[in-house]
Symmetry: C2
């Protein structure tokens, strides 16, 4: 292992240790990974964004698309760092102009997300960003929206990935980056 790898690994390990684990939230039996303890520390927040941006530098990303609400916390600074435009994917009824919607399954019932129809130009290179890759349902719906707009999906970036939930299986046609795994 090279010294560079070792440094990156120890940095990621340190970032992981700054995440707070909260049992039984939002309901009994769920262990919630609370990233607010990571975000509030200037050095950690800066390190996360640096690491997340690094694979996409010089890749010609034109739009960073992020999912409401926690996805905005990473997507907006990444757009800024990469010199890209920022596109929010939101819950229905929030975006005021013409939208496309995509509905996906949750454990109980469904959920829907929306994007403006003029948010992305045909063939524009897109990076999709969210805080968490769990079952992959939300990101699959977001991918569907970007494809309907004609965007070229360059990659999907997450801060945290829950490996047991196998979200990657739903997204196997895409390049996926997650900084921290459980």
């Amino acid at each position: 292992m090279s010294p560079v790898q070792t440094t990156r690994e120890s940095r990621l390990k340190e970032l992981k240790s700054a995440i707070r684990e909260i049992p039984d939230f939002p309901k009994k039996g769920i262990l919630f990974y609370d990233i607010t303890t990571l975000l509030k520390d200037p050095k950690s927040f800066s390190a996360i964004l640096e690491e997340m941006a690094s694979p996409y530098k010089g890749a010609g990303i034109r739009k960073v698309v992020a999912i409401e609400a926690r996805g905005f916390i990473f997507g907006a600074p990444l757009a800024h760092r990469l010199g890209a435009g920022f596109v929010p994917i939101r819950k229905p009824g929030k975006l005021p102009a013409d939208v496309y919607e995509s509905t996906y399954s949750l454990e109980y019932g469904n959920s829907t997300i929306a994007v403006h129809q003029d948010a992305i130009g045909r063939g524009e290179r897109v990076l999709l960003v969210d805080d968490l890759l769990a079952t992959g349902g939300t990101m699959e719906a977001a991918v569907d929206l970007v494809k309907r707009l004609g965007g070229e999906i360059f990659g999907l970036a997450f801060l945290v990935e829950l490996l047991d939930l196998k979200g990657r299986d739903k997204l196997k046609n895409y390049d996926i980056q997650s900084l921290i795994q459980y």
Copy 2:
């Protein structure tokens, strides 16, 4: 007028012209200022963040506090640019650890926002960020939360201000910046 001022003014005018006006959203009689057309343009998004950050450079801001969800789009990159930590203010039930809540009046009924009790250290210098200053009710509640945590409020930053609604009157003890006014 100096050439520098002229340049800044013409830049802000250009940014304002990139905002899309949508009548009767979210309901009849309301003119909605849609900032997504500004965000999706890389140069405009970058220019906004540069202008918003500029008064706070070197001011020793330790935490940038932003209000869910659109506030995150500006607050997170500003925290990154200013070398500060990021603190989200969210709707009730979203933050998993102990919170303080603050309730404020809307046109019809009330709304509540929450912040983690450990989000800000006593005496830390704080910048509060949101996309829009309308009646000022939401920001007034956010100020209340930051004060309960012992934060020292350095300023309040908005992208857009609706002058007719006199939000500044509710927030007159604080330094307020808005880039674009209607």
